[in-house]
Homo-oligomer: 370 residues x 2
Amino acid sequence: MSGQVLNGKKTRGGGVDITQVAQRAGVSPATVSRVTNGRSTVAKHLAKRVWRAIEELGYTPNPQARALVSGRSRVLGLLVSEITNPFFPELMQSFEDVAGEHDFEVMVGSTNYNRERASIFIRRLIQRRVEGVAVMTFRAESHFLDALIAEDIPLVTIDVSANAARSVVLEVDYAQGIDEAVQHLALLGHRRIGFASGPMPHLTNVRRKEAFVRAARKIGLTADKAPIFAGEHTFEGGTLAAHHFLRIEPRPTAIVCSNDMMAVGVLRVLATSGIRVPRDMSVVGFDDIHLAEFINPPLTTVRMSRQDLAQAAFNGLEKLWSEESSGSLTSIRIGTRLVVRQSTDSPKGAANGLRRNKSTRQAETQTASA
Amino acid sequence: MSGQVLNGKKTRGGGVDITQVAQRAGVSPATVSRVTNGRSTVAKHLAKRVWRAIEELGYTPNPQARALVSGRSRVLGLLVSEITNPFFPELMQSFEDVAGEHDFEVMVGSTNYNRERASIFIRRLIQRRVEGVAVMTFRAESHFLDALIAEDIPLVTIDVSANAARSVVLEVDYAQGIDEAVQHLALLGHRRIGFASGPMPHLTNVRRKEAFVRAARKIGLTADKAPIFAGEHTFEGGTLAAHHFLRIEPRPTAIVCSNDMMAVGVLRVLATSGIRVPRDMSVVGFDDIHLAEFINPPLTTVRMSRQDLAQAAFNGLEKLWSEESSGSLTSIRIGTRLVVRQSTDSPKGAANGLRRNKSTRQAETQTASA
DNA sequence: TATAGTTCTGAAATCGATTTCCCGCAAGCT
DNA sequence: AGCTTGCGGGAAATCGATTTCAGAACTATA
């Protein structure tokens, strides 16, 4: 079917063009275009002939030509923080899937917390004429984005509004999941809970921290019973946090982390210090990366759905495309929820610690994998 | 600079076209094209004027228009197995970096071991007119690729040759790293070593297994002292393998895994079975994913460089582009090497086990992070 | 000095779609 | 019957680059 010879010229499957289809169907190219785009009505019998010709020749419209005349490239940009945190590849995949369903291609770039790298990527986005960009770095406050804003490219950011005319903010409801986590710990009998925060100037991290502070207060913990340590959102950040909390007297019986990578770091320090989890210390993560289920012990963590995030990001862009006037700053809420696994339990010496029974734990684990 | 008004019509930065540049520089569009492409000589003073105009207007050539006339899309495809194995995101990033340096964009897709998903992605690649595809699934034998081959799209595969006119094979030298690993274990005093293989029909896994068999024989291990278990290249595959080896009598003192995800599964089973690593059992992985350094204990593993792989894949494509005649099947070799961390040590009861001293271990760890 | 041979430049064709403009025809109305 | 309206479809313009072709200017040679 493809690779055949037509008009004496070799045509790759993609090499069939609209004129050949038109010829074969006995109509004009314009009509073929009308059929494939369905924007205008074409007599049924003609449409049928066109579809058959398309089928027989294996025609697919040339996206470059299409983009050229329509002015729409059907390419989106996705900016993430770093590829080594499994949360981001998972998010990437979700976003590509959503975009793909709508015939968009995605250019993905990771900043790796490197200004230079980010600008190079953004320049590439602009050159490719992307129709919109999802900024999923949780650090949108930086002026990475100025170039994009200057080009008036629709932008979706997380938590923090880009100072752009055409932008949508995804508001993540951290409080929901973090509340659940702290309640869960309280219920297990914990009365001293540390919080390993992400680096502080960034709004996302401020929000997560504040959510923790409020949750702690809600269960009656004063500031000294809910100590906070801020570090990078990485394995190393987690190790530093763990060391910090181990030095505190009296020592917290549980640590809530601002993301799962930190939790992995915390677990490592605890393991090498001979502190058993969850027997001697409970640990809660945030993100629910795929690996959370597989590390030792499987991590209780707050799940932020990448599918929801990806879908919301795409919806946000669609909204920006449809609005003629660069409208009001809309925001879309994303929920979070606790997934209980095995890194949390009653503190060793708790008088009133309720040990969870087997069936409860199973039910919770099941929820996690659903 | 951008967003300015020119000829009464609003121009986004990217909206500046070659005619405007030509006008400003007082030359024809053809000359501007010659300057930006450097394919033909242009008088120095004119070139200078053109560059200045380009600079002043913030002109970047429209890639769609360029692709349309040149017939080259400057888009590549990258097909990986699954996004949840951190090896692949890391490879992705390397490939995108290499491609980006040469002004190529990359469409990434993961099969997730799902035939349907793979075909959909491949259809998208063809529609976008990719100029080449790197197939990094380690399962190229499937006829995923038939559609690409029919389109005569240049293909780079790993280990196994796609049956295509225009293709290059990346031969990974598994023996090198696996030999080192087995030698390392032998030196520590291990005499019974299990191998957790990947699923069997796939050539890559056959190669890794054979490399292990040969290495085991080299240190004098008969088949019964080097048992093999084949499972999926996943966490679950690792847990199955571990359970298998724990049932064997006499039990192996070390397990070599065909990839790091399996090793993580093995470690988990060992931990929950109360078997300490490396004291009671040594474990070696394969890939050296970022997380290998961070799990408990840090994993001794065989590193396969994603940078080398990505660069080799791109070089392979370049080779295919330059060859007019769809030449001979060339292959490019990729090396592997052992990275020693803390999941390997002398077996508990070994008479002649040499304990590594601290300085050695440090030196080796340093190599790992370099 | 005349002629052949180089360089360099611009006009125009081209890539493959979409979209505008216009014409012909059939249906609806008085 | 005559006129308007509306719909479907073809011809041609368009998007923004590259590339071919041919002419102009300049150099080198006899």
